[in-house]
């Protein structure tokens, strides 16, 4: 009887250890975290507007008034530049790294003239950009990302049905691509 009790106690200690291991290791192997889902859209370097119905990746517009577009990018070779222009009542952008941690977020009131113009770069690329700033990036916000890969989420608000077209144009005309000096 005592050995049975001992076995159960050892089992519970093992369960505690396993619980800790599972919770800590889970982000590495779920295969359905936000970054993997964005990568599964197979749309590198351009914003992909999500629909209300979940696609094969499971990503969808959950808020009825917010239209969402996502873009996966890599700054391994060159900085990535995000541009969006247009008049929508509200837009916001978040940059996440490959572990789905927030790197940077902004909205239209924290942007220059209400337009999105953002450059994400590695620390080394950023030093080069600061040393000789290109003319094209005079108005850009520059942020540094330690991780090379990540994804961006752009949200635009359509409070009434009549804003739908403007918001759709805003998202389709937004761009997310590598920045190279010409």
């Amino acid at each position: 009887m005592r050995s049975l009790l001992f076995a159960i106690v050892v089992g519970l200690v093992g369960a505690t250890l396993l619980h800790i291991v599972i919770v800590l290791a889970l982000p590495q192997f779920t295969g359905r975290d936000a970054y993997t889902r964005v990568l599964d859209l197979l749309e590198m370097d351009s914003f992909f507007a999500l629909s209300a119905e979940p696609g094969p990746t499971g990503l969808r517009n959950s808020d009825p008034f917010l239209r969402t577009a996502v873009c996966s990018f890599s700054v391994a070779d060159a900085p990535t530049r995000f541009i969006a222009r247009g008049s929508v009542p509200f837009w916001s952008l978040s940059i996440f790294d490959s572990g789905s941690n927030e790197v940077f977020s902004m909205n239209d009131q924290t942007a220059v003239n209400g337009n999105l113009d953002l450059v994400v770069a590695t620390p080394i690329q950023l030093v080069e950009l600061r040393k000789s700033p290109p003319e094209a990036l005079a108005q850009s916000i520059m942020i540094e990302m330690g991780d090379e890969d990540g994804y961006a989420v752009l949200r635009a608000l359509a409070p009434l049905g009549s804003f739908d077209e403007e918001v759709r144009d805003f998202l389709t005309e937004s761009s997310c691509g590598l920045f190279r000096r010409s």
Binding site: S3, L4, F6, A7, I8, V10, G11, L12, V13, G14, A15, T16, L17, L18, H19, V21, I22, V23, L24, L26, P27, T30, R32, D33, A34, T36, R37, A52, G58, L59, S62, D63, P64, F65, L66, T68, V70, P89, F90, S92, L93, S94, I95, F96, D97, G99, S100, N101, E102, F104, S105, M106, N107, Q109, T110, V153, R155, L157, P159, L160
Partner: protein, 195 residues
């Protein structure tokens, strides 16, 4: 004889069964620590950051949702009314009061799993701060019900329990240190069945 293998089997069964069951339970029960809870409303302002606790990181990796950044907004959700009872689609609820300061807010219902309810284009399935009808002191009352109601009606066409989601966009609440006294709308049950 078979005593030792039996004891080893018991130990392993408890270890794996208990470990997996407790992990799944913990990740389903909550989205991690560090929540802001105001009445029935719960928000996780730190869940998307690198400093989020391991439970929050495991939860967001399993859910795979696109979370809101700090400058974007803060999502409050409520699964119960003010008395602590689960929100049931058989009942009607009044959501009344004001929201914390925000440039804009949206309000809609989801299933218990967080899938947005879309009852169809003819029914008011969501309300935002532009379309809501307010009283003179800018407070509002939203009626969440299956039956049509006057003023602000949020149509619930669903069976079982549901959740209410209030998203505050561009709000100082997301960086709240707890110094601001936040007021969220109250959720009061007004009746069940066809009454």
């Amino acid at each position: 004889m078979l005593r030792i293998p039996f004891l080893v089997a018991i130990t392993l069964a408890f270890a794996f069964g208990g470990g997996i069951a407790s992990s799944v339970w913990a990740l389903k029960a909550t989205a991690g620590f560090g929540s802001i809870a105001i009445g029935p409303w719960v928000a996780f302002p730190q869940a998307q950051t690198a400093t989020a606790d391991p439970y929050a990181k495991a939860h967001r990796a399993r859910a795979g949702d696109l979370l809101f950044g700090g400058a974007e907004g803060l999502v409050f959700s409520a699964a119960t009314d003010d008395s602590g009872a689960r929100l049931s689609s058989d009942c009607s609820y009044d959501i009344s009061g004001i929201t914390p300061p925000a440039r804009f807010w949206t309000f809609y219902a989801t299933t218990a799993d967080g899938v947005t309810l879309r009852p169809g284009p003819d029914l008011p399935a969501a309300i935002n701060s532009w379309t809501v009808l307010r009283a003179q002191d800018s407070s509002f009352v939203i009626h969440a019900s299956a039956a049509a109601k006057p003023n602000n009606w949020l149509a619930i066409r669903h069976s079982g329990s549901f959740k209410l989601v209030l998203t505050l966009l561009d709000t100082p609440t997301a960086g709240s240190s707890g110094l601001i006294d936040l007021a969220m709308p109250k959720i009061i049950k007004t009746g069940c069945g066809n009454a």
